[in-house]
């Protein structure tokens, strides 16, 4: 049954092209340690934040490479292919409004982090509220929300490998070897180069992605025609399923207006609460770099919107989504579409773009999660006198642990588990916004109230997501026929649910945030009335406005300054 053993399936040209780009990127990853070379890599300032010296362009590539992940490239069009606009296209308004939002608050966070040497968002919460338990809550939320996200990057790579004829059935070791090797190499250069590695690789990744998208869109415009593509999508999404409901949503009706807008708003607010997004922002050189990026990052949103439409192109082209294991998997829609419409060598370029697109965010996510651990768990609770060198060493090791944990997760468990947990991760991470973003403006909210609101919202969001269930149906290709079979029910089937006490569907994270706000505000009134200790604030109002040192770094060597 093995594709390799049978001598079928492995697409040699595609694989060679992907391998070529992988080797180039690996070399870049190791050489990155020399880029804007610091005197020592032995601190989190250097290893974890690249010396806080990235300029506008580097930050743009780094953030773009960080936020628009391989999973995004695979999952958003897959959602469009399977169920249409409400599960997929909301990503467009989501990534439009995220940037005006960060334009407003991110410079404040950058300034206070710079002034006090904060490396993680939980560091800020610790300093602002004088509560190491609130900081721990923020840090642990960040870590558990990030882990499944890293696992999903592997799911993205798997989709590409599967399309190239690698993987599928057969010996598990042979099947998963490419994935294990790719991750081992990634782990090695992240360990040695820190944040500089993904920052450098992001240039290659994004350039490839842009080329692929432009070619794909031109192909669709010329060969298919946009009208035909949308008509095919409309027809498919209106087709009733076995249960009698439409397959999906082509244009939202008034029943899902709130679902669509709360998905967009909730996701946009959550985006920059993710530790990896925060890390890339804190690594920038100045407030101005952040604001400039807020106006140029939408280029990626345009790309994402066009990429989403490839899901519709796959509908038009009647792309098969059956994997090497003969099961239907919507995640294969875009890789299979590329395989179908592009010559082998260019399909290889596209697959390289997706695969490298997994490595950049996986590296940054593992660095960010590792920093949270070493700063807010290790230094705070295990070894309070840890030196910067020790902290950097702990982070490096944890970044390895996190990556291999993700690898085991994907290899050992059903891919659906990673997807469910990532859905939950979005619900969870949004609940840290009150402590972080409101904290940038006012200390009125009481630290204990924040902790209580966070707890209630985490429980509500988790339970509500669990309660969303559908029949667990898999479709297998048997002798050329699609044969569905159902085994019990599947939880975490949707990220939308009825808003409490109503029948209006909204994003679960948004409902949880409203509950969070209500609990936090009410308890703040109570705690203030009884004069509960508010903790010590180590920040000053002017810390939130300070900018880069007055002497700008000379051109060419910018960012080379070393900090001790």
């Amino acid at each position: 049954m093995s594709a390799l053993a049978a001598g079928t399936g492995v697409h040699g040209v595609q694989f060679a092209v992907v391998l070529f780009f992988f080797v180039v990127v690996t070399a870049g990853g190791f050489l990155a340690a020399r880029w804007k070379r610091p005197e020592s890599m032995q601190s989190l300032e250097e290893w974890g934040l690249g010396g806080r010296g990235f300029g506008t362009i580097t930050t743009w590539f780094l953030l773009g490479g960080d936020l628009y992940t391989a999973y995004t490239f695979v999952a958003v069009p897959a959602a469009m292919y399977a169920t249409g606009a409400v599960s997929g296209f909301f990503a467009v308004p989501y990534t439009i409004i995220a940037y005006p939002i960060i334009f407003i608050f991110m410079p404040r966070l950058w300034s206070v982090a710079r002034t006090h040497g904060y490396v993680t968002p939980a560091d800020f919460v610790r300093g602002r509220y004088g509560s190491r338990y609130l900081a721990l809550a923020v840090a642990l939320t960040g870590i558990i929300a990030t882990m499944p996200y890293i696992a999903l990057q592997l799911v993205g790579i798997q989709a590409v490998l599967d399309t190239m004829g690698l993987g599928g059935s057969g010996n598990w070791f042979v099947r998963d070897l490419p994935l294990i090797l790719a991750f081992a190499v990634l782990a090695a250069y992240t360990y040695s180069s820190g944040l500089r590695a993904p920052a450098l690789i992001a240039f290659a990744k994004d350039t490839l992605i842009y080329v692929v998208i432009v070619v794909a869109v031109v192909y669709i415009g010329v060969k298919i025609g946009f009208g035909g593509m949308f008509d095919a999508a409309k027809t498919k999404l209106a087709t009733p399923t076995a249960a009698g409901t439409p397959t999906g949503v082509f244009i939202p009706s008034n029943q899902v207006y709130w679902a669509y807008s709360t998905l967009a708003l909730g996701s946009a607010l959550a985006l920059f609460m993710y530790p990896h997004a925060m890390t890339a922002v804190l690594a920038s050189r100045s407030r101005r770099v952040i604001r400039r990026n807020a106006m140029i990052l939408p280029v990626y949103s345009l790309m994402l919107g066009l990429l989403a439409l490839l899901g519709f192109a796959a509908i038009y082209k009647k792309t098969s989504v059956f994997g090497l294991d003969h099961y239907a998997n919507a995640q294969l829609a875009v890789p299979h579409l590329f395989d179908q419409i592009f010559p082998d060598w260019f399909a290889g370029v596209a697959f390289a773009a997706i695969a490298i697109g997994a490595l950049v965010p996986a590296a940054i996510m593992s660095i960010a999660a590792a920093n949270l651990f070493s700063r807010n768990v290790y230094r705070e609770f295990i070894k309070p006198d840890a030196s910067p060198k020790q902290q950097a060493q702990v982070s490096k090791i944890v970044s390895l642990v996190v990556k291999f944990g993700a690898l085991l997760f994907v290899l050992g468990l059903d891919r659906q588990n990673a997807i469910n947990l990532q859905l939950l991760g979005g619900v969870w991470i949004l609940q840290t916004i009150l402590a972080i973003v409101v904290g940038l403006y006012t200390r009125w909210l009481h630290r204990w109230a924040l902790l209580a609101g966070w707890s209630v919202a985490m429980v509500y969001g988790t339970v509500e997501a669990y309660k969303q269930k559908v029949p667990n149906t898999k479709i297998k290709l048997i002798d050329g026929k699609a044969v569905p079979s159902t085994h019990g029910i599947r939880h975490f089937a949707s990220s939308i649910a009825d808003f409490p006490f109503t029948h209006t569907k909204v994003y679960i994270a948004a409902s949880a945030l409203i509950i969070n706000i209500v609990v936090t505000v009410v308890l703040t009134f109570v705690l203030r009335a009884v004069k509960a200790p508010a903790g010590i604030d180590e920040t000053e109002p002017e810390d939130y406005l300070s900018d880069a040192p007055s002497a700008p770094t000379p051109r060419g060597t910018r960012g080379a300054r070393t900090r001790t």
């Binding site: 409004i97 345009l302 919107g305």
Partner: protein, 75 residues
């Protein structure tokens, strides 16, 4: 363009106008009922799809306006 130290406070009017620009860029794409329809189409794109893609550009433009008001306003 090196990053120069920022001087002086930003005039209140600049802050207010920048805030309005950003608020529009955040709120408009969330008003789903204003664009959840099929027509008028543009190059085969239903209104729902091209209108949202258009807001990618508009939001970037509004954010640029806010950038100018905040960054240049203090000179």
């Amino acid at each position: 363009m090196p990053d120069e130290p920022q001087r002086g406070p930003i005039p209140l009017a600049n802050k207010v106008i920048a805030g309005v620009l950003l608020a529009v860029a955040i709120i408009a794409p969330l008003l789903v009922p204003t664009y959840a329809r099929r027509g008028p189409e543009l190059w085969g794109f239903p209104f729902f799809y091209w209108y949202q893609l258009m807001w990618v550009f508009l939001a970037a433009l509004f954010t640029y306006g806010a950038y100018l008001l905040i960054e240049k306003g203090r000179r």
